[in-house]
């Protein structure tokens, strides 16, 4: 049986925390660039130019892209033929602890939603585990800022609401978010499953390359139509009017119950961060 040490996991997670907060993935960076070239709003284009400069300074001077370096959210797939020497969850949290300290990242986590004392090391992380065939450890980190997280929604739609119901709910969520979610946004959508799975799917959707459509033709079509409708709202970068309100709409789906059609909309600002490593 293949074995890996928790020391390797700790070091890997530390590096991933830092990398995710200093550099955007090339699909995100490319989308911001082409948005600047096609944006019709004057102030909007100026703001997109600032975002481009911001990315450059962040990478060169190692200043986080955004001061909200997020809550550390992980999707971890553990191969069932892999043996981990030690406590995996503790190793991931130790990696977060070191990454947020050594990378000069903000500690944005409080210990209790009501008592609200800062844990001072950005732990605990939020970890979604999956058991998969094989002997690999697949770690994906997506540090999530809460300006956009606070504008996210779950709708328990009825089957009769259909595609039109999905569309109007997603559009409503984007309108309500307006300038608060730091547009241009990426809209992560989860449809199906149950109450909590729809939200997890929406978060996972944000981590997909924004240039890749869903493999399901009817969902790819829905992504395309929603993106077009969202960008005709006129909200624009910063909410100051413009043609770039969203850079992408990514949808993930799952089977669901005969009586329901759960829909989750996870808003993400233009600092849509994610890094994946396979050990």
């Amino acid at each position: 049986m293949r074995e890996i040490s928790t020391d390797l996991i700790i070091d890997t997670v530390r590096d991933m925390c830092i990398e995710a907060n200093l550099y955007l993935s090339s699909d995100m960076e490319g989308a911001l660039k082409s948005a600047k070239d096609s944006e019709k709003g004057e102030l909007a284009a100026q703001i997109l130019g600032q975002l481009e400069d911001n990315l450059k300074i962040a990478g060169e001077e190692k200043i986080p892209i955004c001061q909200d370096t997020g809550m550390a959210v992980f999707f971890v797939s553990v191969g069932q033929d892999l043996h981990i020497n030690g406590n995996l969850t503790e190793a991931i949290n130790e990696g977060v602890r070191r990454g947020y300290k050594e990378g000069y990242l903000r500690k944005s986590v409080v210990n209790d939603p009501i008592l609200r004392v800062n844990t001072k090391d950005n732990t605990p992380a939020i970890i979604h585990y999956d058991i998969v065939p094989g002997d690999k450890l697949d770690i994906l980190i997506a540090p999530k800022g809460f300006g956009s997280e606070n504008m996210s929604r779950v709708f328990m739609l009825k089957p009769a609401d259909g595609v039109e119901g999905i569309k109007s709910s997603v559009i409503q969520a984007v309108k309500d978010a307006g300038p608060n979610a730091c547009p241009p946004v990426v809209v992560g959508v989860g449809i199906g499953g149950d109450f909590e799975l729809s939200a997890i799917l929406a978060k996972k959707a944000l981590t997909r390359n924004i240039n890749k459509s869903s493999e399901l033709p009817h969902i790819a079509k829905l992504e395309e139509e929603l993106l077009q409708e969202i960008n005709s709202l006129g909200i624009g970068p910063g909410g100051f009017g413009g043609s770039t309100t969203a850079l992408a709409v990514n949808i993930e789906t799952y089977a669901t119950h005969i009586a329901g059609m759960p829909l989750a909309v996870n808003m993400c600002c233009h600092v849509n961060r994610h890094v994946r490593k396979v050990l």
């Binding site: 019709k40 709003g41 102030l43 909007a44 703001i47 600032q50 975002l51 400069d53 911001n54 990315l55 300074i57 962040a58 001077e61 190692k62 200043i63 986080p64 892209i65 955004c66 001061q67 909200d68 370096t69 000069y104 990242l105 903000r106 500690k107 944005s108 609200r116 800062n118 001072k120 300006g147 606070n150 307006g178 300038p179 608060n180 730091c182 005709s232 709202l233 006129g234 909200i235 624009g236 910063g238 909410g239 100051f240 009017g241 413009g242 043609s243 600002c269 233009h270 600092v271």
Partner: protein, 186 residues
């Protein structure tokens, strides 16, 4: 229109700023976000003094990342203002003249801005690395126990903001989207 102001700033000067103006701020501003606002609000309600003099001053809704060796401050962009809506009217009544954040404000805050002849500015959200370059000095002056949420006194130079709600209550978030749609969608 591009404008330049020095802070602290009087209500008289703020009259000249119009919703949609691009303003460069030079001078002293203070940072405070959720936890510092809650504490200032409760302190004021109990009749005690808060650690900063609000009169003519500007508060920036910011919780920065830690500074690396040789840097003044870390990433320093605005946080969402609506979470401060509960506390803002009292601070405005006590002499606060400007707020820098991002996103919509409540009706109560807008009314209080008009009543007190104050201004609400937005900085570009998610541009914390860029904005940090306009901050020349940073010092924690109160509520140190709150970590990133402590109150900091900042010296800024040509810090770029946009007037969202001016002292007359004009709101760029409403007018800009309407104007854009009128211009490009007709």
């Amino acid at each position: 229109m591009d404008k330049y102001i020095n802070t602290p700033v009087t209500k008289d000067k703020l009259k000249d700023l119009k919703s949609g103006d691009y303003v460069y701020i030079t001078g002293t501003i203070y940072t405070a976000r959720d936890a510092a606002h809650k504490r200032m609000y409760e302190t004021l309600l109990s009749g005690k003094e808060i650690p900063i003099d609000l009169k003519d001053n500007v508060i920036y809704y910011l919780g920065p990342t830690p500074a690396r060796e040789g840097q003044v401050i870390g990433s320093a962009g605005p946080t969402t203002s609506s979470r401060m809506d509960k506390y803002a009217p009292l601070l405005l009544d006590k002499g606060l003249n400007g707020m820098i954040g991002k996103g919509k404000r409540s009706k109560e805050v807008i009314n209080s801005i008009v009543k007190n002849k104050a201004v609400y500015f937005a900085a570009v959200g998610g541009a914390g690395a860029l904005l940090s370059k306009c901050i020349k000095e940073s010092e924690v002056i109160a509520y140190d126990d709150l970590g990133t949420e402590a109150i900091r006194k900042l010296k800024v130079e040509n810090f770029p903001v946009i007037v969202v709600i001016d002292s007359k209550g004009n709101n760029l978030y409403e007018t800009a989207v309407e104007d854009y749609l009128k211009k490009f969608k007709s």
